[in-house]
């Protein structure tokens, strides 16, 4: 591999000029230190590979949390012409619609500690990690199709969660282009028993409190009223249904376009040309999987609300602040060289960051921009940011999505012991309920980049401004 030398644009962004087969340059949002970390794995080469895809517009963008993925890097954004370009399942990811929901409560952190273990046990019991079919909401075919076609509409109609929860979801928790008929029977069978389940890996439910407010006016509008207020963050996706859908399309594309597959530096970059039958089908299937993911987090939010009411009494109120995907391709219009163009904005480990008065914002947030939810790793801060007008030009309305791993799971397992880590965190008043010890060590805070640094770059680069820092009290993990 030739040595890559990104050119410094300013303190927080770098550029790799167009060369070779690249259709656009690569833009990297990072501090010098973070860039050095990125250079240690293959993620920048992956950003360059993405810049070679047909119809990519503007830049291939890498966020400060970027790290090596499969085909596309994780922490990447690619806006690709929806008329003359392509759509790529690898640019969305296997966990279609993976994302974050944040709920705010009327509780203060001191009210939580005396009942923390009871709360975590209750959450763990009512929201299973879910290998096999453990869902408490087993659906028949007709009901599952409704979830896939109408997303959170289905849940609210069936009295799970509230209309207000739904209004504060990106795209109101449903993409109308979804078509359940395209989701295979196998994917449906995997999904049927998994609605309202968490999964494993870095997925979690975290009870947190508002540690520091950086922008009082915006925080107030988002319902984050004061420091010490308890909030709940839910991080998961479309479970087996989305994973199966991605794998199947990867294989279908491989068989439909063997020549394209053979020409790619990594197979997981395979794409469907815009306007092809495969592109239409993948888009509809992706939308259906995204609807499943929103409904999944909505059901988990509903179960969380019930658990809180049971433990802290009926007067406990939980309201959805926002719910946003960070593995998705959204059909949007952006400006390139002064011309508007319809593009699929592939956000693979990146969060939409729409600024004030952009389309598809809940009415209460219209004036300030959308909430951006950035989960940290276990035991570290998480963040709420707000979208900006600059992000539209700088990053096609996108910013980072989390901390980003920097140490392998194997190394993490060799470095820490689960029981010791649990004790260390308890000393800091952070409590964990997990399905396995290994799940804890693999997600050790030290295995991740510093999330505070990630959001600092987003803030300084102007693509997502700080609103509030959240700190954990209790973590439930699969």
């Amino acid at each position: 591999m030739t040595e890559i030398k990104p050119k410094k644009l300013n303190e927080y962004s770098y550029l790799i000029e167009k060369h070779g087969d690249m259709n656009v340059p690569v833009k990297i949002f990072a501090s010098e230190e973070m860039l050095e970390k990125m250079m240690q794995d293959r993620c920048i080469q992956q950003g360059i590979n993405v810049a070679c895809l047909p119809g990519i517009k503007g830049f291939s963008i890498m966020m400060p949390d970027a790290h090596q993925g499969y085909g596309f890097s994780i922490g990447g954004v690619a806006a690709i012409d929806a008329e003359n370009g392509c759509i790529s399942p690898g640019g969305v990811g296997f966990d279609i619609g993976c994302g974050v929901r944040l709920l705010q409560t009327n509780l203060k952190k001191d009210e939580i500690y005396p009942k923390i273990h009871q709360l975590l046990d209750k959450l763990f019991e009512s929201i299973p990690p879910g290998i096999g079919a453990k869902s408490k909401f087993r659906l028949d075919d007709t009901e599952l199709d409704k979830v896939l076609n109408t997303g959170v509409d289905w849940a609210v109609k069936n009295n799970y969660g509230t209309k207000e929860d739904q209004e504060n979801c990106e795209s109101q928790g449903k993409l109308t282009e979804a078509d359940a008929a395209i989701i295979s029977p196998k994917a449906k069978k995997r999904g049927r028993g998994q609605l309202g389940t968490l999964g494993s890996g870095n997925h979690f439910i975290e009870v947190q409190y508002v540690n520091k407010i950086y922008n009082k006016e915006v925080a107030e509008i988002f319902g984050l009223k004061e420091e010490g207020q308890v909030v709940i963050m839910i991080h998961c996706g479309s479970r087996g249904l989305g994973h199966q859908t991605c794998s199947e399309f990867l294989r279908k594309l491989e068989e439909t376009y063997p020549d394209v597959m053979a020409s790619l530096p990594e197979k997981d970059l395979i794409y469907a040309p815009a306007k092809s039958q495969m592109a239409k089908e993948y888009y509809k299937a992706m939308c259906a999987s995204a609807n499943f993911a929103w409904t999944n987090r909505h059901m988990i939010g509903h179960q969380t609300r019930l658990a809180f009411k049971e433990v802290f009494g009926e007067k406990t109120e939980l309201k959805t602040v926002y719910d946003v995907h960070h593995n998705i391709a959204k059909l949007e219009e952006h400006t390139f060289d002064g011309k508007r163009c319809k593009v699929w904005v592939h956000r693979k480990g990146a969060t939409r960051a729409f600024g004030p008065n952009m389309p598809d914002l809940p009415k209460d947030y219209k004036k300030v921009g959308q909430p951006i939810l950035i989960p940290g790793s276990m035991g570290t801060s998480s963040w709420v940011l707000v979208g900006t007008a600059e992000s539209m030009d700088e990053s096609f309305g996108s910013t980072a999505h989390g901390a980003g791993r920097m140490m392998s799971r194997k190394q993490a397992n060799q470095t820490w012991r689960g029981d010791q880590l649990k004790k260390d965190l308890e000393r800091e008043k952070i409590y964990i309920k997990a399905a396995s010890w290994r799940g804890i060590t693999e997600e050790a805070p030290g295995a991740y980049k510093d999330v505070d640094e990630v959001v600092n770059v987003s803030d300084k680069a102007g693509i997502g401004k700080l609103v509030a820092q959240l700190k954990p009290i209790g973590v439930v993990k699969g």
Partner: protein
């Protein structure tokens, strides 16, 4: 000869499985795969299943084979114990037929595998030795 070994990968898991022929290497890849999910030695051989698949290339056959194991885990909670029989043949396509044993009991789940990927996948065949590299998404 060791059956498999795990190697470092920042975001996901990565392993190389070995075998004296492709069938043994596929078998060991499946065992490595399940080792990520649970302690395979504890899983009892209570149920037996047959997996039959066909694919155009060896790599896609491997992709589909391991995907099938994820599917069985997700839908039935079926965890692998061993593979007493695995046959790969080349007809119009490559075909794989395997008899697998395992159980759907209440075992400790270390991690769930989301999906197979083609990332860094290789199947290296030399005289008397086959190496398979796999990166699953977890």
């Amino acid at each position: 000869m060791k059956k498999f070994e795990f190697i470092d990968h920042t975001a996901d898991a990565k392993f190389i499985a070995y075998g004296k022929d492709i069938e043994e290497a596929f078998t060991n890849a499946a065992l490595a795969f399940i080792t990520l999910v649970t302690d395979i030695h504890k899983v009892k051989p209570k149920q037996e299943k047959t997996i039959e698949i066909a694919a155009e290339k060896k790599q896609s056959l491997l992709f589909d084979f391991l995907e099938e194991l994820i599917y069985l885990m997700d839908t039935e909670g079926f965890l692998l114990h061993d593979i007493p029989e695995l046959k790969i043949e080349k007809k119009d396509k490559y075909t794989l037929k395997a008899r697998v044993r395992g159980d759907a009991g209440d075992y400790e789940i270390l991690t769930q595998i989301k999906a197979m990927t083609y990332s860094d996948m290789f199947i290296k065949e030399t005289e008397g030795k086959v190496e398979i590299q796999v990166v699953p998404d977890i």
